[in-house]
């Protein structure tokens, strides 16, 4: 039996490359064209059925005395599979890199936790900024992970609809892989895969610095 795509075994050994980086590209596609994209992905990716997922993601910020940008940690809980443990993920600052770098890069550390980490994060000094529900499909190809998802607002949060007009009719698409910083080929793999998805969707580097200022 093939493992489900997002199965992350609790690792018994600390992996040798603790300094893991995520190489990724993001884009969006109108709802009307999402099906075509899914068909194409099904053809391109590994021969397992696409994994539907519904994740409740919470974003926590920790104000940092030494830098302007807060430390960001995401807590993620699967609503589709309640038995999967919570995951907290530290995401570093996104580096767009120079023009010759194929993808955006950010460092990330994912920790699986037993129960709701809210109090733990609260004791660490984090404050809950926002939460979002992502529902969609999860594809994989080798070590690449592709998600096509729609965002919605959980009932416990308030939403500013004026800022979310355009995204209401689009799916978010992200292609990423995790590798050590010394791995040169990971970014190229992501980029080559994204070329195969054109012209249905064009995945590019997005300048996160501008987006961060639109809080």
């Amino acid at each position: 039996m093939v493992e489900p795509a997002n199965y992350q075994p609790l690792s018994g050994e600390i992996p040798s490359n603790v300094n893991v980086q995520e190489y990724f590209l993001q884009g969006s596609i109108l709802d009307a064209n999402a099906d075509k994209l899914k068909q194409r992905l099904q053809g391109l990716c590994d021969n397992v059925p696409p994994e539907p997922f519904t994740d409740h993601e919470q974003i926590y910020f920790l104000k940092n005395a030494t830098s302007m940008l807060p430390i960001i940690v995401k807590a993620c809980k699967s609503l589709a599979k309640p038995s999967t443990p919570w995951q907290i993920k530290y995401v570093g600052a996104t580096e767009v890199g120079e023009h010759n770098k194929p993808t955006m890069i950010r460092s990330c550390v994912t920790v699986a936790v037993s129960n709701d980490p809210a109090q733990f994060l609260d004791n660490l000094g984090f404050s809950l900024q926002s939460e979002v529900i992502l529902k969609g499909y999860f594809y994989r190809k080798g070590r690449l992970q592709i998600t096509v998802s729609k965002i919605s607002v959980p009932p416990t949060a308030t939403c500013d609809t004026s800022k979310l007009e355009a995204s209401a009719s689009s799916h978010l698409v992200e292609v990423n892989t995790t590798a050590s910083p010394r791995d040169e080929t990971a970014g190229d793999e992501v980029k080559n895969f994204c070329q195969l998805l054109r012209p249905a969707i064009v995945l590019n580097k997005v300048d996160h610095r501008k987006l961060q200022q639109w809080q």
Partner: protein, 202 residues
């Protein structure tokens, strides 16, 4: 895992740690316990120097649970995570730093005696040994109140009059609830803190 009780064994006067460990080990072996490998419990403490109300955070690794790490805040919350926790905390090093002299560990021998698991360990800060710890686990039961009688008897035969006469207060809240690793870790942290205080007092 079953109900676990941990305490520090005050060694008799005039003996150093090595002799005390040998003494208590032979006592346990006389009871019929068989050696069953080694164990190790490590605890690293962190604090946030710039945050005024921040509690101390303890990160615990227990060889009995090799795929997990435990995060315990002093008078705060408790969390079980996988092995990436230390990497995660290192990313927060701008705010949370390891405490100086905060690393303390307990290493020793495991013994199995029927359903009981006895661990005798030497607690050390850095390279210097500071005390002896005794851990007793009764595997089949998960409710502390139900098995306290048996555990108390076993403790008496190992550590004599140092054994507590009745269910200790820190195990009591969980008397009717399932025992969890949280209590085990809390007991370890308490013991480590006590040992640290005695080290400082000297």
């Amino acid at each position: 895992m079953g109900v676990t009780y941990i305490c520090q064994w005050k060694q008799p006067e005039g003996q150093n740690i090595q002799q005390s460990i040998e003494q208590i080990s032979s006592c346990v072996e006389k009871l019929g316990a068989k050696k069953a490998g080694l164990f190790q419990v490590e605890c690293e403490s962190f604090n946030a120097p710039n945050a005024p109300n921040a509690k101390t955070l303890h990160l615990i690794y227990d060889s009995e649970f090799p795929a997990s790490r435990f995060a315990l805040f002093e008078e705060g919350s408790f969390l079980v995570t996988d092995v990436m926790l230390s990497a995660f905390l290192s990313k927060l090093r701008a705010v949370w730093q390891p405490k100086k002299g905060g690393k303390i560990d307990c290493k020793g021998q495991r013994y199995e005696l029927g359903d009981f698991l006895i661990k005798l360990g030497v607690v050390s800060v850095g390279a210097s040994a500071k005390g002896i710890s005794v851990e007793l686990e009764y595997a089949p039961c998960v409710y502390a109140r139900d098995c306290w009688g048996m555990m108390s008897e076993m403790l008496q035969s190992i550590i004599g009059e140092q054994a507590p006469p009745s269910l200790p207060s820190n195990l009591q809240p969980k008397g009717t609830e399932r025992f969890s690793p949280e209590l085990t870790m809390q007991q370890y942290v308490e013991m480590f803190n006590n040992i640290r205080k005695t080290v400082v007092a000297r």
